[in-house]
Amino acid sequence: MPKELLEFEKPLIEIEERIEKLRSYVQIEDPRIHAEIEKLTKRSQYLLERIYLKLTPWQKTQVARHASRPTTLDYIDILIEDFVELHGDRHFADDPSIVGGIGKFGDRSVVVIGHQKGRGTKGKIYRNFGMPNPEGYRKALRLMQLGTKFKRPILTFIDTPGAYPGIGAEERGQAGAIARNLFEMCRLEVPIIVSVIGEGGSGGALALGVGDRIIMLEHSIYSVISPEGCAAILWGDGTRAPEAADTLKMTAQDLKKLGVIDIIVKEPVGGAHRDPKIAAQSLKETISKALKEIESIPGDKLAVMRYEKFSKMGVYKEDH
């Protein structure tokens, strides 16, 4: 299939193939060919738009996990000038599934941290499929504390299936590492802007997710458990993941309704991977605006507001 089309994008295959065929004839100067290409391109764009207007949660999950979806380093590349990557947790190791460093965002110096998924088999293994070990979370915390020390805003990017469930991770305190990040993030006295750019997988995502503004890209997801995991537990059948995706309410649109996130950023038609530059530009504008709203608030007050934001989350009934 051309350009790694997803299952539900199949209606486009025929058109895209015809366009490609016609393109191979363009050396023949025939205005009819150009007209036909233009017509087909419009048709393809129209179809894509229609498909993406009503993606199901499971389809969104596939877009969020798309092999070509821009990763943290892709966004850093476009959004951050003079980026210097910093490594290691100073205790055990450097975890390549979380990247972080310092750089310029517009005219501000910022600390940037995000989950990193790899590309290609080797890259994916090197990045452990974006599933951090405890040292990844400890590196992230170290960098956040660096940002606080020098009073720099912190930008985090979330894109992980979840924290790695391995023996070493348990031995080195995966749970404690995540818990410590939650504990510290809610009291850091600098602005923290969180952007969910792909997959927000449970506690492993939240460990970079306690911020003043929570942004989600239009086709990203954020959930307490993966739809596959949920289906396996509920029905003993991982293939019922599409149903679980519906039930879990894990799309950006659902989370906005539930009041868990603040802002949804529109993606280019057909998903961020079709035009990473435009996706990054929209994200940049949203992050800038969010930063402008909060950067004049004194740090201690910001931490109190963040505490209040998270302490209000949850839905329950109360008798008086």
Binding site: Y164, P165, I167, E170, Q174, G176, K317
Partner: protein, 272 residues
Amino acid sequence: MAWFKREDRKIKIPEGLWIKCNYCREIIYRKEVEKNSMVCPKCRYHFGISIEERIALMLDEGSFKEQDSNIYPFDPLTFRDSLKYKDRLKNYQKSTGYADAFISGEGTINGKPVILGVFNFKFMGGSMGSVVGEKILRATEASFSSRSPLIIVSASGGARMQEGILSLMQMAKTSAAIARLSEAGVPYISILTDPTFGGVTASFAMLGDIIIAEPKALIGFAGPRVVEQTIKQQLPEGFQRAEFLLEHGMIDMIVERKMLKETLAQVIRFFG
């Protein structure tokens, strides 16, 4: 020789008179275990106990006053699997007699006031949803304003799937509450019992000033089955048991149930 495996041998035990130890798998006379605060006489494994037993074990007799019992769960996602979440809640409320998986209140330990919160594993595996999160927050706030030490006894499978992302957010909410308590210099003691996992360990439960576990309790981030499936190898002996956590430096101590109250009294005296 799959038929030869120990796990496959299902032993049917008549309800009531005898129980099988979750750890050493010995069949033991129930009365003997009950006399021993639900501790296996063979291997010292600590069975789960009811909220009432837990309170009786830890607090001065009659000192417990429940707080925030007026908070009830509902179904924000209209979640449905084989059963509607709403109906599942009703069933658990009926079988346990409690509104949700956590109760909290004030009491005393050797005369010293404390705020105590206890998970009820029998209520949906002690899973943490909005009600549990809110009650932990309020218990922490009660501890904050009274400056009485906070003690939370965990037994939980983690975040409650049926409340989706809202359950995940309880991890941030409870950790934020503990951070605030910590800044105020009020002691928080976390007690981990069998089993404690997922969103509970990855938030307030691993944030105690002092972390105590019961002998042989299973404690971890990912459940042992998930870890096994991920690495596709057999797990090492004793993996994720309290002793394993102590060895790896994750907890302060392992305390037998009958020594728990005395240990707490000692710790609180130190902070007082």
